[in-house]
Structures are given as C-alpha cells and as structure tokens.
C-alpha cells in the first residue's frame, strides 16, 4: 500500500495515518510542549480536522495525556447555492450569456433554457438581469435582446474572495442566502497530567502474540465499562408457549400419565359430541360455536362401528343402564357432520372406546391415566382473550371404583406443581360429566381466586354404551394453556403469545417457563 492520501478509507491506510498523527503529536509535545491551534496544525499537515484529528485528540484527552482548551472561531462560509454560483456563475450572467448576439424568440428561449438551467435559476436570473437592464424584450416581435455587449459576474467574484468584502457586502450575500455564519471549534493542546515522553497507549485486549512473547507484562490495558451489557448470545430460541407446554407435559409424565395421539384436527360430530352424550340440540353444536366443514363435510356412513353407533343412538333417544336418556329423535346424519374438534375430549372418547374393546376381547380391564396437550377450535368472536384456536390440556384416569375425592386429589397435585396451593371446587354443569366441578385456585401472581379449569366424572351414559364394565369410572379435568401462560408472562393480549404476529423479541427474551413458584 503506497497511497498516502488522507481521504483514503482503507483500514490499513487509516491505521497508518493514526500512527503518523500520534507520532507527530508526541514529537510536538516533547519539543514544543503545546499546539496553539489544532485547526492550523491540521491545515499544515493536510489532515482533516473535525472527524479525524479531533477524534485522536479526544482519546488522548480521555487518557489524560493532553489537555484541550476549546477555541471558537466564527467565519462566513458559502451555502449550497453559494457554492453553485462559485462553480457555474450567477443566474443572471448565465441567462445573459445564453442569449445569442442577435436575440432570440422569448418563448422558445424559455423552453430551452429551463430545460438546461432549471426553473428556479431561470426565474431568479431573468429577474436580476432585467433589473440590471442587461436584457430587454422587444414588444413588437417578442424577441429577447441583449442591451449591453458583455457583463461582469460580480457576485461570483465576491464569492471567490469573501475576505475583500466589508460587513454590508457580506450582509447582502447573507440575505441572498449565498453565505451563512459558521462556528469552527478548534483546540489548543498542551501536555496533560499523564504525559510522559515514552507514554504508551492502553491496549484494548490481550492477544495470542502477547501471550507468546510475554509482552502482556509491559502493556497497559484499557479500563472496561462493567455497566455495559454483554454481547448477545448466538443460537435460536424456543417459543414461550411451547416451553410452557413442555412443563405441563413433564408434570403429567411425572404423575405417570400416558400421552394420547391427538394429531387429528378434523373430527366427526359423533366422536366430538354424540359419543360424549352431548345432545344434538345442544348450543355448543351451533354454527355460532363450532366450525363445520364443506370438505370433507360428512364422515362416511360406516365410519363408526354399527353396534356402538346404535347403542349411542339408543342412549340419547330412550336411555338405558338406568338412564332415562334425552328422549328425542337422534339423527345419524347430524352425527356424521364433520367439524374441527372443539375439545380434545373427542380423542379421550376414542381412547376409552378402544379400552372398552380391549376389555371385551380379553375380559381384562386395564386402568389408564391419559393426557394430551393440543389444539382445539372454536368459532369464537375474536378478542383480546379469544382466538379461533387454542391449546387444551386434558388429563383423565379410568379405573374401577375411582372417586370424586381422587379427582380432587389428582387435580390438587397437578396445580401444586404449578405453584397453586389453595384449590376450591364449585358445582358446575357439563353435558358429559356428572358430578362436574369448576376448579378455582388462589393465584400467586394475580393474588386472587381465579377459575383454572373444568373437571368431572364422565357420565355412565357415555361409558356404558362403549362396553366398559359398570364399576369403571373415569375422572377428567381440562384447562386452556394460553391463559396460564398469559398470566405467567403478564401478557394481556392472546395474539401476543400465539400466532404469526408475535414479537420475536419476546420469544428471544423469554425466561425459563418454571411454572412453580416455590414458597421456600
């Protein structure tokens, strides 16, 4: 690299330049002890002053090697328009020069000259040239004529050397916005308290070379700013809602629950409602609440084993197993309507049916603890806390002679692991559970009682048509995943934790999803 141009931005050139400035600075301070004006000094060495030299001086001031005193110098400098005139001449002269010796048709001239000089220059120059009576318009022909043979560009001459002007001359240029006042800050430089003839620059960081040569012993190191943040870590991030999901999964697995296969968003009304003994006129089966489908609109005719379908139909219409039933005309067509599942209980129903088939085949009933966490769909009116889809968490236990206190016990265990210790149960209505209980808890973050979820024992009208033994009872509970997550992270709008509009910064800065708030 041989270039010595100070305007070069090549890093190594810049480095060389710094070194030269620093060397020169130390020479001057050693020999003369001071620099009276950094502006003059920069000009003498042809260094740029404001960005380059001042930068170097400021760092030496920070190290205490030099002391700087500000010198303010006011001066008059050209504006952009002023520079333009200096370069191309004043508008009136340019207009004058553009008119040929024997004149020109005004309209034609206007068109041409505006194209080459621009509207504003033409307007200003024309007015000024007319005022100075350099040009005129012949009334009869409309011809534009010079009235003097040649003109002097006084304005340009003035701008070329502002120092020749007196104050009123400068003021006239100021009014024309060709010059303005500028303040130059330069510095006087003298030795600072830390100056020594062989002072060395503090070093930013330790290098392998220093380690190899041992020169780190002689070096001075820069102070660190411990108040600054460290650099951002690399790597990706898991989604907060999925982190919360992992916590819930872990709780179920720790409690010995087996995960159900829930990758099945489309369900028939049969599995979502009818098999759960939810009557066909139930409001939840309205188009207001449930997404029905155009395609695939109906489940095939024999998608449900005929004997099971018949026993479900009979249970709705006339009852059985000690139930009076709902006493209405149950329609198979209605049960075949496909929907987007409104709850994962549709899957629970399939699992329990399977369990009953295993029992029928083997004569052995195997107790089960099942769980799932997956999406469900509701045709909701969307607002800050409702989306058309959300994650449902569901747990159930199927065993002989299981009791309501067992349900209360397992739910309490579940919520203790979420840091909620005070749990109360409220009687509620749910078409497929009896008894039904709403779960309330005293929330450690909200510091108040809130509804946490729903629970109950599945009705015999649901279990017995499947073929489960009469003493097998199923206890279950469910809750949404979004709400506890929103409470945990204090997010009021559900769209800020789920969906494509989520802020990635929230994902990146999200802490561990430890749900439990330990008391000790």
């Amino acid at each position: 690299m041989s270039s010595s141009s100070s305007s070069s931005t090549h890093p190594s050139d810049q480095g060389d330049l710094f070194t030269r400035i620093e060397t020169e600075l130390f020479n001057v301070l050693k020999t003369e002890g001071f620099i009276s004006n950094s502006g003059d000094w920069a000009r003498n060495h042809q260094w740029e002053h404001n960005d380059l030299l001042v930068g170097v001086l400021k760092s030496y001031e920070a190290w205490g090697v030099v002391l700087l005193d500000t010198i303010e110098q006011r001066s008059v400098v050209l504006t952009e328009d002023g520079n333009e005139i200096l370069k191309n001449g004043s508008p009136e002269v340019r207009i004058f020069n553009a008119i040929p010796q024997d004149g020109v048709n005004q309209k034609e001239f206007d068109k041409q000259i505006k194209a080459s000089l621009g509207d504003l220059t033409v307007k200003l120059g024309f007015a000024e040239a007319m005022k100075k009576k350099w040009i005129k318009i012949e009334k009869e022909t409309g011809k534009l004529l010079r009235t003097v043979p040649s003109v002097e560009d006084d304005t340009r001459a003035q701008l070329e050397d502002l120092s020749c002007l007196n104050e009123s001359g400068v003021q006239a240029l100021r009014r024309r916005k060709l010059v303005h006042d500028a303040v130059f800050k330069t510095f006087s430089v003298k030795r600072g308290p830390k100056f020594t003839p062989n002072w060395r620059k503090p070093i930013a960081d330790i290098t392998p070379e220093m380690l190899a040569s041992g020169s780190w012993r002689d070096e001075q190191f820069k102070d660190y700013n411990f108040q600054a943040m460290g650099s951002l870590t690399a790597g990706g991030h898991l989604h907060p809602l999925m982190k919360v999901r992992a916590e819930f999964r872990e709780i179920f697995l720790e409690l010995g629950f087996e995960e159900m296969f829930t990758s099945r968003y489309v369900e028939s009304s049969f599995w979502n409602f009818d098999s759960l003994f939810q009557p066909q006129q139930h409001p939840a089966r309205d188009a207001h609440d449930t997404f029905f489908l155009i395609n695939p609109a109906l489940a095939p005719e024999n998608s449900v084993p005929r004997d099971y379908l018949e026993s479900v139909k009979q249970m709705h219409e006339t009852g059985g197993f000690g139930s009076v039933g709902y006493r209405y005309d149950w329609k198979e067509e209605e049960a075949r309507k496909n929907i987007l599942r409104t709850h994962t209980t549709a899957i629970s129903s399939r699992m329990l049916y399977q369990l009953a088939q295993d029992y029928k085949k083997t004569g052995v009933f195997t107790p089960k603890k099942y769980f799932s966490i997956d999406r469900v769909f509701r045709n909701e009116t969307l607002d800050a806390t409702h989306l058309a889809e959300f994650h449902q968490i569901e747990g159930l236990i199927a065993d002989r002679n299981i009791t309501l206190p067992h349900l209360i016990g397992i739910i309490s265990q579940f919520f203790h692991r979420l840091g909620i210790y005070d749990i109360r149960f409220k009687p509620a209505y749910n078409p497929y559970t009896e008894p039904s209980m709403e779960i309330f808890g005293f929330h450690p973050i909200l510091q108040k009682w809130v509804e946490l979820g729903n629970s109950g024992m599945f009705r015999p009208e649901m279990l017995l048509p499947m073929g489960l033994p009469e003493d097998v009872r199923v206890i279950a509970w469910g809750l949404g995943m979004e709400r506890p997550t929103m409470i945990k992270y204090k997010i009021p709008n559900i769209r800020d934790i789920f969906g494509p509009r989520i802020d990635l910064d929230f994902v990146k800065k999200n802490p561990l999803a430890l749900m439990e708030i330990r008391k000790d």
């Binding site: 997404f291 695939p296 107790p367 509009r501 910064d505």
Partner: protein, 601 residues
Amino acid sequence: MPKVDVKRDLFFNEVGRHYTKDEFEHQCFEYGIELDDVTSEREQIKRETGELKENASDEVLYKIEVPANRYDLLCLEGLSTALKVFNNREGTATLPNYHLAPNANPLRLIIDKSVKDVRPVCVAAVLRNVQFNQQRYDSFIDLQEKLHQNICRRRALVSIGTHDLSTISSPFTYSAEKPEHIKFVPLSNNKEFNAVELFEHFHTTNSHLKKYTSIIKDFPVYPVIRDSKGVILSLPPIINGEHSKITLHTKDIFIEVTATDYTKAHIVLNTIVAMFSKYCAEQWSVEPVEIVDIDGKVSVTPNFTPTIQNASVSYINSALGLKLTPEEILVLLRRMSLPSVIVDDEKDNKSKAIRVTVPITRSDILHACDIVEDVAIAYGYNNLVPSLPPTNTVGRQQPLNKVCDLLRTEIAMAGYTEVLTFALCSLDDNFKNLNRPDDGNAVLISNPKTAEFQCGRASLLSGVLKSVSANKGVPLPLKLFEIGDTFGLDQKTDVLASNQRRICALYCSSTGSGFEVIHGLLDRIMLLLRITRSVGESKERTYEIKPLDDPAFFPGRSVGVFVNGKKIGGLGVVHPLVLQKHEIPFPCSALELEITLPLAY
C-alpha cells in the same frame, strides 16, 4: 350460562336470610351458581343507553348466573325456593307439592294434522286464581323470555304463549293455515295484520321479533292457535294476539306450548306451571288440559307422572369416597329439593338404595349419577377429603411428539427461533399467496366468522412467512422454524381428513438468498435422524435432493427432498412474487419436510 336478575331485598326475604355480599357469594359458590353483577335499574339503563333516567329505581339488583340445565332456577321464585330449602340443614323444609286439580269440564285443545311438518307438538295447562302484582307479573314474563333464550333455543325448538282465559273459550284448535288467512291484532298493536303483512311489518320496523320469523317463514302454512270462536290466540313461535293478552288483573291463565320436540315442550310447560302455581289460590295446583292429537287420541297435559330414580347407597358412597348412612343421604337430598325414601337395593337385598321421586322441576336428573352430584353438592365439594388415586400406571410420551421435541431443541441450537402460527388460514394463504395452484385438497370450513380462518393450513410456510412479515425490524439474518401439524383431505381415514406433522424452516438475509444455509439445516436434520446422503443409488436410510419445480420457489432454485427414494418435502429460494405477497423486502430460503416415525426409528 344463563343469567337471572332478581331484586336483592325481595330475594333475600323469600330465601329467609339476609346475607352480606361476601356471604352470598360464598353460598353461590357452594351451590354452583354465581353472583355475576350487582347493579340497579338506573345503572342498567345508564349502561345500555348512556342516559340517566330520572324515575328509574335504585333498588339493588343481583345478576345471578345459573347452570344451563337448571331451568327451575331461571326466576326469582325457583331460585329463592331452592336456596331456602338448601339452607335448611336439618332437611325438614316443606317441598312444593305440585299437583293436578282437574276441572269437571276440562278444557280441550285439538291438534290438526296440518301442523305435522311445521311444528307438530302442542301441550297446555291452566293456572287458576293467580294473584299477580307488578313484580310477579314481570317475573312471569321474564321467565318465559329466559326459557325462550335457553332450552327453547331462541324459540326454534319450543315457544310459549300465555293468555287471559276469561277472554277465550275452549275447545282450542292448533292447526297450520295459509299465512294470508291468519288475520289478527298482534300483541301490543292496534292494527290487524295477516301473517304476511306482519312479517313485512317486523322487517320494516326492525322489530326484535324479526329474527324468529325465519323459523317458519319458508313453510307454505304457519301454525296458529284459535279458540272455539275462531279468535286467534297466537301465531307460534312468533307472537300472541292482543285479544287474550295477560294483564295484572288476569286471574286464570291459559298456557300453551308448541314445539318440534316433545320432551322439551313438557319440560318448559312443567317449569312455568311449577314456578307460578306458587301464586294460585290453591298453592301448587295446576288445572290440566285435554290434548287431542292428530290421530284423535286424547291425553292430558301437563304430565306430572313422577320419574323415579334409584341410586344404591353403595354407589353413592363409592363414587364420593364417603360412608354416609341412608338417613344422612335423605337429609342431603332433601336440601337439594329431592324428596326420597330408603328402599332395599334391587341388586343386593342386604343393602339399601335411595328412591328419589324426581320433581317436575328437575328435568336435569337422568341417571343415578345426577343423584350422586346432588348428594355431593349438599355435602359440600370442599368438604370432601382429597386423596391420590390408587391407579398404578406408567408415563409414556407419544413417540412422534418426542421425536419432534428433540428436533425442536436441536434446530433451536442451530440458531433458528421457533414460531407458533395458526392451523387455520385463508384460502389465499394456502395457495395464491404461495404462488401455488389450489389442489382442492384443503379442509374447508363452511361457517367461518372471518376470512382469516377459511380452511386448514396445507403447509407451514405461509405462517412462517407471515412471522417474517410481522417482524421486519429485527436484525438480519433471520432464522425461523415451526414444527406442527398441517391438514388435508385423506380418503384413508374415518373422517376423510388427516394431519401431517411437518418441519418448516426459513432463512432471511439482506446479503443473499442463503440456499446453502437452509440446505445445511436439511443435512443437519438428516444427520440427527441418522439418514445419510445418498451417492448414486438410493439405499435404506439415505436421502438425496433433486431439482423439482415448486411455484413457491424460484425456478432452478427449487429441489425436492427424497428419503429412500420417497419424497418427504422440498427446499428452495422463496419466489420473489411470494415475498412480494408477504411484503418481505429481503431474499429468503425455506425448507418444509414431513416428519413421520419411520424417519426417526
């Protein structure tokens, strides 16, 4: 859940106890209802209209939420009776003795066969010598409205008409007639309309009754009830006639209930007569009406034949984990307004069972499990002692979920940030915005509320691109991924649709499209799945990528990913038109693969 407005002081008087608000809320919690709001007539008017009404009442109103299957709690009368009995802890409170008081000359209602296809069911009853005052009258009207909105499913299933019996005469007929022939002065009007004109009138005046017209509008004939002189009582399920209107001075009330569902018609009729026979001169008495059905068969309504529900003591105790004596259970059930006696257990004559005579107000009781719940409520859910279930099982994850969770962590470690986008999208999101043709394979929703959710997502790419679009300010390069289910039609399943588990990852940068970056992630995923790069031939557990056009990707920069020769997905430089549709100003590359268990194991 339905909400009932009651005047607090009057309500507390009827319950026989004056609560503080906290005490009442506690009582509600234990009983399974909820104090939703405390307000007044003045406040309600202000809230609804924003205006202050001078003469509105400041009397405290309680808005109470009741369970959706307890129609007997839908008015002050039923709710206060239920709580009064519940509060009698000894179980000695007198229960209403609903009974029929037949008339020597019974009223008669004849159902004509013309109603068969429109609204085939009609039942009726009479309340004699009712003592109305303004509050009782309001409650009577309000209960009908509450029933209409709930069990009657906005009148589609059942609707109620109540009439001043002194203005009409038996026998009544229930028939269906041509709309033009149904001419009468409707309630709260002074002009005569035929049914066609009336429906037009509702539409032009934007009446609140407009929404009910669709229930019968498309039938050639409309149901109508007339008296012996042809006077029109009502045009069910829309409106009653002005002629037989109930007033504060009405003594004898004729109640007709029309329906498409026989069971629900009975429940509604029983609820009304049970609640308001309280104000009859002979309390709890109801005069039956003879109904002549289409085949000329005569029956009597309302039907007070009691339903008997047996629950063995051992079943109750076993379900609740308690050791209650039969006598204790009787007391608990009586507090729930369920009269019961102790009998021998049919299945085990050494044990006892509880025989409950289910009152006409408790249509929610279908099975012994409903008895168990009432015992539990009276005992107190929160008095039950929790215990862990003895069920001994082992925990197990779904293998596919486990694989995907492991992959999610690995992909995040590779620098990709997880997004979680919606499984529902617009049809354009699925196809047009990805530059892909509609293959007709998407699961289509028939009743979407917004264009945002018209169908099931066929790929994850659209959601990930939207996430980029919503995060334009973040520093580049941006690396995103999602693992989730897409869904589409599938003839092989029992609902003709199925889910597919997929991975989508995207790289977005200002300096280049980054095909090699996404390709690198593919190589990494394959390494994690122990699938090696195929050289030349496709062997077991090998993968290869081959040029394959996908309109979502830039031509020549689009490949398919094949494992054991079978396509599992693709990757490529996202097509500029797709980026434009998502308003993304930077080049992107993306990968989408289907993950199945055989890939991992």
